[in-house]
């Protein structure tokens, strides 16, 4: 029968008040913890997916859209870049560009995006094969870990891609050749887990077959011949003058003045745009930050209100309990005993509220993870526990104590004589 035990009994004796206090407290704590969880994982995702890229070059449009579509595979691409006009960037002896990875986007398979590129794309994300081999021929693909897991794809499986980036049966390239799964990549925690990777030429091949469905037989046959020709003697991408790609991911040789001026040069002197991932992502943070700040402020307000509600319920319970508090004093309890009793009641509510809040945030993370994975192409974890949650615990304790301190002081000042003499008749 220690003080803590008595505090707990007192709190449980008023279940409705307890429920109200816990709901408020856990909403506040839960909201903050959920914001932290989503935020930390989003930032981690954005960091991981930079993949050492200094510049993204693509068709004119919104630079943020270019970054999102080419680096994070979130938005739609801005448009196409004809190879005839972008040959200069593809020169392997480019004085400023160390590595240039071409991307052809726009097709998908059951909601997962197909990226037409080359093997250097896989190297960017440091992804390793865990099964099968790397793609070599046209229409061969390797799939990211999450794709393989969720679609239950194995090496040797075949599938037909669909046009566009959403899952829609009507848009399947039914008359195109199927893709053949050659290998499966291990988990990296970056966006490549959510992608299907193939050669640039494979994406072209699908679209040629498809787009020119009303061509004559000879023309069609000529195209097919063409494909065979490509496969046999591998031509550099720059040789396909009549084709287009979506964008280029660029790593600089060094961060010198020419490199830093490159983006402006491209934007001013070509039909393309160049976007710097770091700048665009910072801009995105600033945009998201406003909403995040508003949610944080709301969570703080809820926590403040819950602190107030703890204070009010403790304070009003003192009026009901003044006789039993006075009687405890006559039984030998010191004023400090009553002070601690009420402080512990505040702390117990805060700790229970904190635990409910953490359960709430991690519970809703389990539900949200699926939705977030679809919209952000990133595996969210509900079992991740953050250092900040320990600070949140400390904060909860402080709120519990502050809410209880005035009632506790009041209880410790209980005037035994006045209280018990007053209760006559």
């Amino acid at each position: 029968m220690n003080i803590l035990h008595l505090s707990l009994k007192n709190i449980l004796n008023k279940p409705l008040t307890l429920v109200l206090n816990l709901v408020l407290f856990s909403l506040g704590v839960g909201l903050i913890s959920l914001l932290l969880l989503v935020n930390v994982q989003l930032e981690d995702k954005f960091q991981k997916n930079f993949a050492g890229i200094d510049l993204v070059i693509g068709a004119k449009g919104s630079p943020l859209q270019l970054i999102l579509s080419s680096l994070y595979h979130l938005d739609s691409p801005t448009g196409n870049m004809p190879i005839s006009e972008s040959k200069a960037f593809l020169n392997p002896k480019h004085p400023i560009f160390k590595k240039v990875v071409p991307l052809s986007l726009g097709d998908s398979h059951r909601g997962y995006r197909i990226v037409g590129t080359n093997v250097s794309f896989v190297d960017l994300y440091e992804a390793k094969l865990i099964e099968g081999k790397m793609f070599e021929e046209n229409m061969e693909v390797v799939v990211g870990a999450t794709v393989a897991e969720n679609l239950k794809i194995k090496t040797g499986d075949q599938f037909q891609s669909s046009h566009g980036l959403i899952e829609d049966e009507n848009l399947v390239h039914e008359d195109a050749k199927p893709f053949l799964v050659k290998g499966i990549l291990g988990k990296t925690g970056s966006v490549i887990d959510q992608l299907i990777i193939t050669k640039t030429q494979s994406v072209w091949a699908v679209h040629e077959d498809h787009d020119h469905a009303d061509e004559t037989e000879e023309e069609h046959a000529a195209h097919l011949d063409h494909d065979h020709e490509y496969a046999e003697e591998e031509k550099p991408l720059a040789a396909y003058e009549d084709q287009s790609i979506t964008s280029l991911l660029v790593q600089f040789r060094g961060r010198n003045i020419q490199a830093l001026n490159m983006a402006r040069n491209i934007n001013e002197n070509t039909n393309f745009q160049a976007a710097t991932p770091a700048i665009e992502i910072n801009r995105l943070y600033t945009l998201l930050g406003v909403g995040e700040e508003a949610l944080k402020a709301l969570a703080m307000l809820i926590i403040f209100v819950s602190g107030l509600s703890i204070f009010i319920s403790l304070f009003s319970s003192l009026r009901e309990r003044k006789y039993e508090l006075a009687v405890m004093r006559t039984l030998g309890a010191r004023p400090g005993f009553l002070f601690q009793l009420i402080i512990f009641e505040g702390i117990v509510i805060a700790v229970l509220g904190f635990l409910c809040g953490i359960a709430l945030s991690h519970g809703s993370m389990i539900i949200l993870a699926d939705f977030l994975e679809k919209s952000y192409r990133y595996d969210f974890s509900a079992s991740l526990f953050l250092m900040e949650e320990i600070y949140l615990f400390g904060g909860s304790l402080i709120i519990g104590i502050i809410a209880a301190i005035i009632p506790a002081f009041q209880a410790s000042k209980t005037d035994i004589h006045a209280t018990l003499a007053d209760n006559k008749g």
Binding site: T330, G332, I416, L420, K424
Partner: protein
């Protein structure tokens, strides 16, 4: 032995009340009578150490209350004085048993469930040991209050209108239980009341004016 000498008390803005000198031997049972406003409750609170007198001295077993610090007095009261009020005012969140365990703990005694059950048995409320106080009748609640007052074997038991909220049957029973319980632990029993039903059974009476 309980002694009070030259005891006076003054509420702010009111005339001072002086109380007759008074001595009770161990095992004595006294009834303190007087009209409303005669200071019965004040006297009881003074004797219980809940209130400090303006002048005068109280000693229990030769120990002067005025020598104690507030902390010592709280401890002394918990160990040596049991008080029964008009209503039990038990801790509502605790069962009868837990209330008595709390009394043992606050009185600095060992927690002894068997002893508690023996007392509840004697007071005929053993079957209510695990009930919350607000589930008990007024008579039963008063028995819990008596159990709480005697559980630590005090030297002095004070009762303030212990029967005035009860009907005749319960009044007689509570009165008898109070006297028996005080006898069982050989404590001094002082009952303050204006309840005339008690007058017949207490040979020693003190009248306040």
């Amino acid at each position: 032995m309980l002694k009070s000498i030259n005891l006076t008390f003054q509420y702010s803005g009111a005339p001072s009340i002086s109380f007759p000198d008074f001595t009770a031997e161990q095992g004595d049972q006294w009834l303190i009578l007087g009209p409303s406003g005669s200071g019965k409750t004040t006297l009881l609170h003074l004797l219980g150490g809940l209130l400090s007198p303006s002048t005068g001295n109280i000693t229990l077993d030769e120990l002067h209350y005025s020598d104690f610090s507030p902390a010592k007095l709280d401890k002394f009261r918990g160990e040596n004085i049991g008080i029964v009020f008009q209503k039990a005012h038990a801790v509502q969140s605790l069962s009868v048993m837990e209330n008595l365990l709390l009394a043992q703990q606050l009185g600095g005694k060992l927690l002894d469930k068997k002893k508690i059950m023996d007392i509840l048995e004697r007071l005929q409320i053993a079957h209510k040991a695990n009930q919350k106080p607000n589930r008990l009748s007024a008579g039963e609640q008063q028995r819990v209050a008596i159990a709480r007052a005697v559980i630590n074997q005090p030297r002095l038991i004070l009762a303030d209108e212990p029967t005035s909220a009860l009907d005749d049957k319960n009044s007689t029973e509570v009165q008898n239980l109070l006297k028996e319980s005080a006898d069982a632990v050989k404590a001094i029993l002082l009952v303050v009341t204006h309840d005339n039903r008690l007058k017949a059974t207490f040979p020693k009476q003190l009248l306040l004016k």
